[in-house]
Amino acid sequence: MIGYILRRLVSVAVTFIIVSLIIFFMMHAIPGGPFDANDMPVSQAVRDKMMANLGLDQPLWVQYTRYMWGVLHFDFGVPYQSPGETVTQLLSRAWVPSLVLGGLGVLIGAPLGILLGMAAALNRNTWIDYLASTVATLGLTIPVFVTSMLLILVFAVWLNWLPASGWGKPERWILPITAYALIPLATYARYTRSAMLDTLNKQFVTVLRAKGLSERRIVFQHVLRNSAIPLVTVFLPMFIGTATGSIFVEAMFRVPGLGAYFVSSIEGRDYPLEMALMLMITFMYCIAYLLSDIVYALINPRIRVGGEP
């Protein structure tokens, strides 16, 4: 097991380097630079001086090596669009709302989705199943900015129960988190339902019934555990992937989160910020997949114990 984890860590490191290379060179492949004439009407000499100060006159590979060397020391540079703070400071400021939004959204949506999926699988072809499937399908097919607008329309405009946008006070959180939670809820419900149905149709469930086990024990001990195995690989990455929040939800509800910086850093050729954001996402997904593989191996005796004894 330890050997397995070590090998996976090495592959995570390699993945991280390859992805960082791709991002870096693609980022610079976009025409234009941070101080183009129409954005910043200064003389060529001043512009050259600014470029030299930031090291942008160096060859790309030098720039890349310098940046990655900084990353190794947790130095992600200074954003061009707000030079008063470091990228790290900017991220730690803007990440909090995104983390609250994404984290709470998943923490609320995932358990509800799992319960909904279970209820649907255990009551197959009844109204519960149809309701759950309808909710799941709607949640997956309607884009989040449409559900966001509907939520604003109903709860803010018509009923006037909740504020339409903004952040800060907890009552302003309710609508964006609800809008966000619908995504994991729908996804988890669908996956859980199909995994549970798969397991329920297995021969060993009939054997468990024939042994005289109670239905509750069959479902909660055997079926749940078996269904969890395929789900782990889907759920954990999704869970961690949400920590960056949602660009759309943040835009709809004017949440001062990370979302806006994804767009503005690319548009403004704000290389340090753009790179930092991308590396952050890459890193989190790498860790998420690593964790899900480890958990998968832990709960699945066919991998944990191996073949022939």
Partner: protein
């Protein structure tokens, strides 16, 4: 009062497109300690009836009956508690495929102990101790270790033993065995059947044996119920059913059990053999993880084998699962690449030919697989499937190809009107006929038949064998018939090659193998064939793998005229009879 009493049981399933009546008014009873066999083909309603007895049918089933009584309880009206008592304590069940009957994520010990604890108030430790005792009762030697094992770590035979131990854990009054040996090898089947008889006597249980195999019936039960199409055709003491069957269906079943065919008339060694395998071997690389690094070792699926398939003959290739017989067949067809050796087709070695050069040889050799369902493209009509080989090899115009395919449909005994149907609309036997037509439409000289009948019902099996035999004679085919079913091999083939653990251990003319087997493994295989009449049933002794090894035949230099060798190898002891043996001075 009988232990099990079923009166006028009817079960139907609601499906897309209506109701299917699976069981149409059957009645039977079982007394304490009695053994009842229920025999019938797939779809006859035999398993459904017994699942109804424990209310194990899915929600799509509608069950009605005048009465279903088990151990004095009205099953139809049983509440939650009665049901928990019925399942496990009144009746316990064992199932066909032990590999899928255990929950893969819990250890064997856990699953047996859990059964004990759900019926009696005992602690986990006591339950595990009892589970160990039960495993010993079903002749599992290292019971304590087995408790910790997960299902995937055990063989099918071991798992079925553990399944029996689990069934015994609550001392049931009746044991229901639903095709308990169908998924197992012949030698394992004989052991499991003997074990079931033993524990039945020891625990004083009644037994309901559900099977499609009359041999299993002959070995295990006192009374037989013959089912067909959801109805009981005939019922009576086992000896009477075998000696004086009343119903036409029972007679047909028995006839297919004793079917035999004329041996084929081959041209003897005058011409070169149709197919010859020389030192053909297959090894797979196994990757093992050691810390961060991998280490590799070889798994020898097939050690170098020599097999000759004479022109116009049928050679049987027998062995259990894992013996390498299918791999050998696949290599002969160049569907799996051999690690070493030659494949001679009409004297040409095709083992190293590239795809283009191979194409003309592909016309001469075809294969029929065991699972006809997955062997036929579900998106193609039968005409398209049968005509496809013609298309690939560019034989005739499109119109001729279709006409040819339809003609072949008739030749394998299906109406021409089937041409526009799809594979899923056919029964297993009909699909296998289509697979045979597709294999033979190019007029090959060699046919590899890989267990073509082992997924079929007995009566259908006899028909397919009959068809193969007939076509073989008409076309002068040479068939390599791969099978684990020795009774089929006996009735169909001219000579037999026995494989064991990737090696050929014996080879001889069919009559000779069955009358004078030399290798201990061949003997074990033959001994495991179930009796074809209850009169012939007997106690068997089984040899472990080491005992088989130790019993390798020995010959002297004088007997064989060969140089002595200490490690076993194939030697010729009579014309056409080779056996793996040690030659001593």
């Amino acid at each position: 009062m009988p232990l099990v009493e079923i009166e006028d049981l009817r079960v139907s399933f609601s499906q897309y497109g209506g109701q299917i009546d699976a069981v149409r008014g059957i009645s039977f009873s079982v007394n304490e300690g009695e053994s009842l066999g229920i025999v019938g083909e797939s779809g006859s309603g035999k398993s459904v009836s017994c699942s109804a007895l424990l209310r194990l049918l899915p929600a799509t089933a509608t069950v009605s009956a005048k009465s279903i009584k088990l151990d004095g309880i009205d099953v139809m009206r049983a509440g939650k508690e009665d049901l928990a008592r019925l399942r496990g304590r009144s009746a316990a069940m064992i199932f066909q495929d032990p590999m899928t009957a255990f929950d893969p994520v819990f250890s064997i010990g856990h699953q047996i102990a859990e059964t004990i604890m759900s019926h009696r108030k005992v602690g986990k430790r006591e339950a595990l101790a009892e589970a160990e005792q039960l495993l010993l009762r079903v002749e599992i030697k290292n019971a304590r270790d087995i408790l910790q094992y997960y299902p995937h770590q055990l063989s099918g035979g071991m798992l079925q033993r553990a399944m029996i131990a689990m069934a015994l854990s609550c001392r049931p009054k009746v044991l229901i065995a639903d095709e308990p040996t169908t998924a197992l090898d012949v030698t394992i089947q004989a052991q499991i059947l003997q074990l079931i008889k033993k524990v039945q006597a020891e625990f004083g249980m009644a037994l309901i044996m559900i099977t499609h195999d009359l041999g299993v019936i002959a070995e295990t039960v006192d009374r037989v119920l013959v089912m067909y199409g959801g109805e009981v055709m005939e019922e009576g003491p086992v000896q009477q059913i075998f000696d004086a069957p009343q119903h036409a269906y029972t007679k047909a079943l028995l006839a297919s059990l004793n079917a035999s065919f004329e041996p084929s008339r081959g041209d003897d060694s005058a011409t070169a053999p149709a197919l010859e395998l020389r030192g053909l071997a297959k090894a797979y690389r196994i990757k093992r993880r050691k810390g961060i690094f991998n280490s590799y070792s070889d798994f020898h699926a097939v050690r170098p084998v020599d097999i000759v398939l004479p022109r116009n003959r049928i050679v049987g290739l027998v062995g259990e699962s894992g013996s390498g017989k299918t791999t050998t067949g696949m290599m002969a067809m160049r569907l799996t690449d051999p690690t070493a050796g030659q494949i001679l087709v009409d004297g040409t070695d095709i083992s190293r030919l590239g795809p283009d050069a191979l194409k003309s040889f592909r016309r001469r050799m075809q294969i029929v697989f065991q699972d006809s369902y997955s062997a036929l493209d579900p998106m193609m009509t039968l005409t398209q499937i049968i005509a496809e080989p013609l298309h690939i090899h560019g034989v005739g115009t499109a119109r001729e190809q279709t006409e040819n395919a339809l003609a072949w449909l008739e030749r394998v005994g299906l109406p021409r009107s089937f041409g526009n149907r799809y594979a899923h609309e056919l029964s297993g036997g009909q699909r296998q006929r289509v697979a045979i037509a597709r294999a033979l439409i190019l007029g090959p000289t060699v046919l590899v038949a890989d267990e073509p009948t082992s997924a079929l019902d007995v009566t259908v099996k006899a028909q397919i064998i009959g068809l193969l035999k007939e076509l073989q004679a008409e076309m002068g085919l040479s068939i390599l018939f791969i099978s684990h079913d020795l009774s089929t091999v006996k009735s169909l083939t001219d000579s037999v090659v026995v494989m064991h653990r990737g090696r050929v251990v014996e080879e001889a003319a069919t009559a000779r193998i069955f009358s004078d087997p030399q290798h201990p493994y061949t003997r074990a295989l033959l001994d495991a064939i179930p009796a074809t009449n209850p009169r012939d049933k007997r106690e068997r002794t089984f040899l472990a793998a080491e005992q088989l090894e130790a019993a390798t035949p020995r010959y002297t230099v004088i007997q064989t005229g060969l140089a002595p060798n200490a490690t076993p190898r194939l030697i010729t002891i009579a014309p056409g009879h080779r056996v793996e043996a040690i030659v001593t001075t």
